[in-house]
Amino acid sequence: MISREVAWRVFAAEFNSSNLEMKGEGEKTPSYLISPLGAKINRIFVVGVLTDNENVGNENEPVWRAKITDPTGTFYMTAGQYQPEAAMALAKLQPPCFVAVVGKFRTYSPEEGKMYVSIRPERVGKVEASVRDGWVLETCKATMDRISAMEEAMKLVEPTVEKLMQIGFSRPLAEGTVHSLQHYHQEDISRYKGMVSDALKFLLPEYQTGPEMPLEAASPEEIELEEEQDDVDKEALVLSMIESLDSGKGAAWDEVVQKAKSQGIEREEMDSIANSLLDKGFVYEPVLGRMRKI
């Protein structure tokens, strides 16, 4: 009996920070992605906002690439001919909308020591906002469970799977925790606690301040124009960076982000600039994590 892999509830920030892959030996043994908090992921369940959805293949052989955001970051996913149901579902969806995705992890390592992760969806479906809220809550709980497993493990002189199971954690979590401890820097735990509490505040109206409204000094049209101009300038700057960092296979996105930071463009802003450049057709992603000028 081969049991089905459980679907882990993991936030984008934790998922995207994962860079430890355990490849299954032989054909039937599954591979796992170990997250910084010890999730032993083969399958993942995600609910968020579909912000970008594009067929990067062609009419006959569609390859759908999509972005889904949660309160902590963005999940990247690609569905091609081997995920016909997910690809078909994506083809019908118009961003922005709430979607749920069940899929398997994929990794891409452009070079030694670097790893990008994405989702290969098995099933994609449009959902209501309440389903997203439910997922955020559930994922907060699951993340806290992993944090407590991690903290218990760090109290042990020699943490082993058996000892963690005796404390009451499940075998997959105990295994993931032990692997994670050997690989990741554990000072990140407090950062993840902060992430969970931010995600919880996201659910609670009393913490929602709303976007800050600009003062009445300029008319909305003027501001929009100004902002657009500003955006265009930054986009042009980023585009030139992508071009200059490209040595033939596309520019590594991490390097672009770093260079942009030195010019005063923050990471958050870079995401929207990248989206805009992709939308306008100035650049494309030959592979995940790399950008090329068209």
Binding site: M1, S3, V6, G134, L137, E138, A142, K193, V196
Partner: protein, 440 residues
């Protein structure tokens, strides 16, 4: 070893030697053997006894006095202070000759253990008495220790009072809940309410026998129970069962009460209110580890709707689902419409196949079977209802009650009740946030 550590062993040797014992001489000898010549304690004791005219077999192997819970199943000689819970005489056949033995349970504050007295002439036990058993040995049977009183064993009545009457646990088998039952468990101690008791006549190896079957329920679930002898069980009886064993059928653990098992009928209401309540919510991982369950409540997310869901046609004779109007057994037949959903439920701890029959499919999709037939015909799409199920169920959280069976394909939940769950994210979120900030 210093004198203090050796003292109990000196006492033990002196006890065997009786009146002729000279404790200071024994202590001196023992110290010499153990500390000077470095002989193992066990051999030192045997040699000293032999030298002083005692029976070397009557000292322990170093295990000496033990608590029931500490028994390992390979003690060659062990002493226990226990209360005799049950005394059952039995005649067995050994090499063609009949032999009387006595078996039952003894217990101390740490636990309970089954025993057998092989020499009923020299060892007599009285139910309810507290005794010091000396020089018994243990053997392991199916992972549990068994206490044996052979020809070396002796028993002394003791004045000590052992608090075991209300002891909740048994030796190597603490009192368990229905949800804890797994295939192969022995000496199970469990309490619950009996329903659907039924006396049955069976023929076992040519002999007529009366057995009693029924269902035992507690707050974690229900299990079928079979008493392999005649017993008085009434519907609604609250009972404590001692010494049952578990055998699973299709993954569902079932309780069996053999000769050694005991049923205590408890006062009404002593188990609290169990009537009509549904069992506690269990995680899918927990249910999977049990292998199955007769009555279970789980909560999880629908992560997939599988092939074969929606409107199906069944054979009117055998109810098998038809493929192209053809039954695997009865050939081409006029099929009957039916609705079902086969899906995967996942709660983050594990995942499980779940099947919803016609009524639950109608309820979850909010359509009648007639409407389902009409939609399928109108849209000329045999998968119309399946697609509807995908749309309505995917990523939704459900609470499902039903029965879990296992086969080669893993466990499957056959749903009896189901409802959509929507968490109160504001309330639960605020609670979690308070808890978290309390930790920081």
């Amino acid at each position: 070893m210093d004198r203090e550590e050796l003292a109990p062993h000196v006492e033990e040797i002196a006890r065997v030697l009786g009146e002729k014992a000279d404790k200071s001489k024994i202590a001196e000898e023992l110290e010499k053997y153990v500390n000077l010549y470095r002989v193992s304690l066990e051999w030192a004791k045997r040699d000293i006894l032999k030298k002083m005219g005692g029976n070397p077999d009557s000292v322990g192997d170093g295990s000496g006095r033990k608590n029931v819970a500490d028994l390992t199943g390979d003690e060659q000689s062990v002493d226990l202070l226990v209360k005799v819970l049950t005394v059952n005489p039995k005649t067995i056949e050994v090499g063609g000759a009949h032999k009387s033995i006595v078996y039952g349970y003894v217990a101390d504050e740490s636990g309970r253990v089954p025993y057998t007295v092989w020499e009923t002439e020299s060892v007599q036990l009285k139910q309810g008495s507290t005794v010091l058993i000396r020089n018994a040995y243990t053997k392991e049977y199916k992972g549990t220790p068994q206490l044996n009183l052979g020809n070396r064993a002796s028993v002394e009545e003791s004045e000590e009072i052992l608090d075991v009457a209300d002891m909740p646990s048994g030796g190597g088998s603490a009192e368990v809940k229905v949800a804890d039952l797994t295939d192969g468990m022995n000496y199970v101690v469990i309490s619950g309410r009996i329903s659907k008791p039924e006396r049955r006549e069976i023929t076992a190896s040519g002999e007529k026998k009366t057995i009693v079957t029924g269902i035992l329920s507690d707050e974690t679930g229900s299990a079928e129970i079979t008493v392999w002898k005649d017993a008085e069980l009434k519907d609604g009886d609250e009972v404590r069962i001692i010494g049952a064993y578990v055998k699973s059928w299709k993954g569902m653990p079932k309780l069996n009460l053999g000769d050694k098992a005991e049923i205590q009928v408890l006062a009404k209401g002593s188990l609290g209110d169990l009537s009509g309540s549904s069992p506690k919510v269990r995680t899918l991982e927990d249910v999977e580890l049990s292998g199955g369950a007769m009555d279970v409540v789980v909560r999880g997310t629908m992560v997939d709707v599988r092939e074969g869901s929606g409107l199906v046609m069944r054979c009117p004779d055998c109810r098998r689902v038809l493929q192209k109007s053809t039954c695997r057994v009865h050939g081409k037949v006029k099929g009957m419409d039916d609705l079902r959903i086969k899906a995967i439920l996942d709660d983050g701890t594990s995942s499980m196949s779940v099947v919803f029959g016609k009524e639950l499919t109608e309820q979850l999709l909010n359509i009648s079977i007639e409407e389902a037939v009409k939609i399928t015909t109108d849209e000329r799409n045999p998968d119309a209802v399946k697609e509807m199920a995908e749309e309505k169920l995917f990523a939704r959280t459900l609470e499902v009650r039903g029965m879990v069976r296992s086969d080669d394909f893993g466990p499957m939940l056959i749903a009896r009740e189901a409802r959509f769950l929507e968490a109160d994210v504001r309330e639960e979120g605020a609670k979690l946030l308070t808890e978290m900030e309390g930790f920081n």
